[in-house]
Symmetry: C2
């Protein structure tokens, strides 16, 4: 008789955003007259930039013509896209990353969940707490996290690095030595980040203790302060210890288009074993490339028009972020983030838990946010709002919250 | 110090099609004047059908308009696509599969590699030999296959079901009892298949021994004979033991578009554990949906025009298959397949190994095929040609081979 992967049974509840979707759909069914405003899941609302749309139409036409039709894409991505990434995201920032160290994928969620596969079962992971739930959940599925404590909501074999008001949401070096360190900076959900000098300390730490850093830079485009690194490879020695995950979802509105990439430097080794080769093998065996049309869309984000249009899109969302942040502050809330990230992280009022505040907001303001506790135990008592709504909806939601 | 997944180090050589690509590119570099004809990798050459192109342009326009823009897709696929699949691929064939048992993905390669994740480490897999390499390789990466014997080219913990000339390329029930049985029918690479009555025996066998069947139906559209099942769910009892993988790559030319789906029936359980729930959890945690534009393209393949156009496309490739089969037969080759599948499987002439014939064909006819041994030890002495070229190239390749 076949057996299942028992690790799946250890996962408590469902994936955070699926739970929210279910709660919201139950509310909508019970109150069909209420108009919800969704500032929960980090989903964008602005249409794709004209340069991207034009590139996609052109690519669609190519796919309809025998002379220009494209079948299977190269395993690791088309050169036109990898070259553009290497030039704009790395070379122009002084980072020495070559196109063949870049692996194009269907998005950073897949990559951040799959990257753990090339590591041994016995590795111990460290995560910021709170953080994007996929890092821990994918390691639970792989059997790397030990036993779950339902009271503490922690795993026995995961090293948590609490990021709270008390430490300014900046992770500290853990007391126990991790093998794999997940860093999401600017952070989802807290919206905070660290300086380049602080990031350099993490790189030095990883190189010292022999850990690998899985660096999730999905929100890089939202960095507005000057002393924040846009890539971990701006730090010295990072190529020997860090993998960087990048997404087109938040800088170019590709949440429904699906495109991301992962950098695995050739220098990154474990003894003789090259992680670059291992990831190439995984990509070649378990993935078949991102769609041609989508890769052309990605390329267009680096064109002069594309870059201008996307800068405006990011500015649009950051205007929302500022409005939420200031509006909530005025209403007496304690708020964080929103400067280098499209997320506002707020302390729930009174002694409300994160889920209590979720229900309260849903029922009384008809606004959907994300409970901080869904991102880890240290997120309890916090709540995330995103700046990805339309400006009008953002102001309307704010008005409703201020009236509570 | 972090450790790697040592299972990756056990994989012999590189992924089959990557090796071929490297050999071909070395040849092209050495002989820039030679015009290669590629009948190797199963990649299509005909442009996308007009109905698909129209649907994609429309979807691109929607993504460029704030009123119709779509962000994250539902985890498991848009209802418009899942409904169309349920109706056309199942209901109209008398199979009782509901839309929420269908999981839309970025292609059958990902699904066929990822599906093993929800099963326990201790399961023993059975595979047809020869077969699509991803089934075994993905299980090697997961550590499920035991020790590799480089002489026999087999894994100690894999049950091989030889499919050779002697048994008409039809797998026989293995002597040892497997937990997971991979069946690819019509088969890649042999191009052969089994009758619905024979498939029913496999379903009965799986239900009897408590095995799960991973049924890869990627080539279903090429079935031309009447007594062959188009879905495993045409067999009684299949919903209790079978997962079906389907692709849009070969029936609709989506190799560079990336779309597939997997059916996990709700009845399929291991004790109390629902595999449907587990796969939903995996999808929700490690995948973020197929692109909206691509899902609309998939929907268009089920429209009346789409179906007519794709029927013509399949007929085009099957005309190639017949030409290759008959042409090679006339030239004295022993050939199989090509009736219910776009693959021609031939015995290598003389005592040539598969790779020797690969090199021979590449050098002397400048035709790229696929060595049978790349699909498993019983593929040694065989060779695969695909019908996915243009008709002109197919005839030209045939002419070159006949002249050898």
């Amino acid at each position: 008789m076949f057996k299942i992967n028992e690790n799946y049974q250890k996962l408590p509840g469902s994936y955070l955003f699926s739970t929210i979707a279910k709660k919201v759909s139950a509310f909508t069914e019970a109150h069909p007259d209420k108009e919800l405003i969704r500032l929960g899941i980090g989903d964008v609302t602005q249409p794709l930039a004209p340069a991207v749309i034009a590139a996609m139409h052109k690519a669609v036409d190519e796919m309809g013509d025998a002379g220009t039709f494209r079948g299977y894409a190269p395993d690791l991505g088309y050169a036109f896209l990898r070259d553009a990434i290497a030039e704009h995201d790395y070379k122009l920032r002084g980072c020495d990353i070559s196109p063949d160290e870049i692996f194009v994928s269907d998005g950073a969620k897949s990559d951040s969940a799959n990257i753990q596969e090339i590591f041994g079962q016995e590795n111990r992971i460290a995560v910021c707490d709170p953080v994007y739930p996929v890092y821990v959940d994918s390691n639970v599925m792989a059997g790397r996290t030990g036993v779950y404590d339902p009271k503490k909501e922690t795993w026995s074999n995961v090293i948590y690095m609490p990021c709270t008001m008390e430490n300014g949401f900046v992770p500290e070096f853990p007391r126990e030595t991790p093998d794999m360190i997940y860093l999401c900076l600017p952070n989802n959900p807290t919206g905070t980040t660290i300086t380049k000098a602080q990031l350099q300390e993490w790189v030095d730490y990883a190189n010292k203790v022999g850990a690998v850093i899985i660096y999730d830079g999905a929100y890089e485009a939202y960095i507005s302060e000057g002393d924040v690194a846009h890539s971990i490879y701006e730090c010295e020695g990072a190529k020997a210890c860090a993998i960087e995950l990048k997404s087109f979802s938040k800088n170019a509105g590709f949440t429904g288009v699906r495109l991301g990439y992962t950098v695995v430097p050739k220098e990154l080794k474990c003894g003789e074993a090259s992680l670059h080769q291992m990831w190439a093998r995984r990509h070649g065996t378990k993935f078949n490339g991102a769609p041609y049309i989508v890769q052309r869309a990605g390329e267009a984000t680096y064109s002069p028009e594309g870059r201008t249009q996307l800068k405006e899109q990011v500015a649009y969302y950051m205007k929302n972020a500022a409005a939420i942040k200031n509006g909530l502050k005025d209403a007496g809330y304690t708020v964080f983030g929103g400067v280098n990230a499209p997320y506002i992280w707020l302390k729930t009022p009174g002694k409300m838990t994160s889920w209590e505040f979720f229900d309260y907001l849903l029922e009384n303001a008809n606004v959907v946010g994300t409970p901080g506790s869904g991102f880890g135990p240290s997120g309890e008592g916090y709540f995330r709002l995103t700046a990805f709504g339309t400006y009008e909806n953002t102001l309307a939601a704010l008005g409703r919250i201020q009236k509570l």
